[in-house]
Amino acid sequence: VTNQLHDLSATAPPAGTAALQSDRAWYLPTTVGVTLLWLLFWSGFIVWWTLMAALFRQGAYAAAVIVAYALPTLYMLAAFIASRRPGRAIKLLHFGTFLVLSVFFAALLAFMGESPPLNDAGPYLGMAFIAAVMGLMQYPKAGLKHYQAYRSSLFIGGVIFMPLFIYFSAMLPNVPSAPALDKAYLFPLGMLGFWLSAAWLILRATQGEHVPGLEVRPLLPFRPDFILPGGVNYVKGTIMMGVGLMIAIMPLLRMPKWNWWGFVLAFWGIITIIPLRGMYKMVRGRRLRLLGLGGRGFRHETVKGLILFIGLLIMLYGFVNAFFGTVPFVDLGVRPAFNAFATGTPTTQAVSVVAFVLAFIVLVPLRGWYKTRLLEGIETKGQMFTSQALLWVGTLLMLISFVHFLNLPPIRDLGYMAFYPNSNPVGLAVGLVLFLAGSALILILRPIALHNEMEATMLTMVGVASDQPDALRHWVLKRRVQTLATMPELQRNQHVAWMAAGLGQLSPEKRRLMMGTQMAVLAEADSKTRRQIMTAMDQAMMGGV
């Protein structure tokens, strides 16, 4: 792939120039392409959901689970096979597989005499949102030839397993609550794929290489693979912690229900936390920091923390509704029975307020302050863990606050959250496993994902700079050298090592171009800066940091 990329980057026009000269030239084909993919995914998800629901209703649990996993597994397999073969058309194999499976599922539905229910718009809106995300993230904006260089099989797999929400929506309302044990194993069975598809995103191969033609703004390529792994690990970790806690605190075994409108709301919380906060971090943070134009400090971290906090509020309220089987803004928090400040005990009220205030303090000012103390790119394992531990504690406090504020049934007797190992051993076990699995995503796997995202961004930045016209490339490298000169030596060495690795991924022509610009910039720099950079480059060439 790297060799093929060399061919491409040698012949491609400077993407920056093209992007700026015809700023909107890519709008129309991208809009048409994404819309077609959206239609493919939307119709496919509706068929998939209807089939799973029908099978669960008929008690064919094994068949329903096979259908649930067949779609994302075969899709990912098709993407993997395509990544091993040359040619453009083969890169469409996963989309083709999705189409074939959807038609097959539709035929099965027709054979069973089932059709999608039309009594509620919620599922169609929810699945339309999921399909839109699928289409946007997998659209081959930079063409098919090098598709898997910028959309790896692991990334595609991580994306296509996200709609396992649809499995829960098909299973939870259609499997009878008695015997409760049915749901007690069918629910974690869906969570298994949910968890694994977040876990494998921490692998370095999730992030692709630089490919020209992905720029959506100057010096900003559209790279969801640089945002998704950390975001997905946090969001899925939080969902698993939350739903695990809700199952574990029940006095008797009770499994979640489902309401699509709850998901429709939660979706916007996910959108806030993953793509919007991710893009804020890229556009207003990392891109500015790497060029020494700001994007750092307590104010920046506070805004990031606030976006996270508000996104979390939306997502949690949405998912509590989704898994409680209620429509948002109607029951939970609104009806007196579900509002601690209307019918709860003073203890319930106090726990909800104290936990909420503590969650805010931990997630916004405390974590924000802590992150200003870290040196980007050379954080120690302990520092990265501490940052995630603060995130985990803040999230757990928020969950505790929600459970008490909404005065959920298990809270009402005692006035506070408790566990019932004697009367609900299965619920406690299932809940605890889900809670711990979710915690592992946040505490252990997310730091690795974030480190890989950072490294991939740094490597790709060299390629993005190499695509720019002369003046812009010179400006970027000049800013970069000035910024590197202000860094502590260890951090500078790490950043230069990543840049050297990024240089190694370019075609010989592009590499020569970048080296020439680099030499010109260094020649203009003062002697101290030049010495600093040359020393770091020596270190990088020696293979050390």
Binding site: A121, R217, P218, R284, F329, P469, A471, W475
Partner: protein, 59 residues
């Protein structure tokens, strides 16, 4: 960007047409939050884009 804002408006209308009033109001607040974040990220002046535009217009 205009396309994204238009899509948000379509979503808001779809929710207003299919849900009770207070549910729609709740969703409207959330969608307004999303739109304001999109504005903050992409429409608010961005030092890199401004510098790049200045640089290329000087050429």
């Amino acid at each position: 960007m205009e396309l994204l804002f238009a899509l948000l408006a379509v979503v808001a209308v779809a929710i207003f047409l299919t849900t009770p009033f207070w549910v729609a109001v709740g969703f409207a607040v959330v969608l307004a939050w999303t739109a304001s974040l999109l504005y903050l990220i992409f429409c608010h002046p961005d030092p890199v884009s401004e510098a790049v535009t200045d640089l290329l217009s000087d050429e």
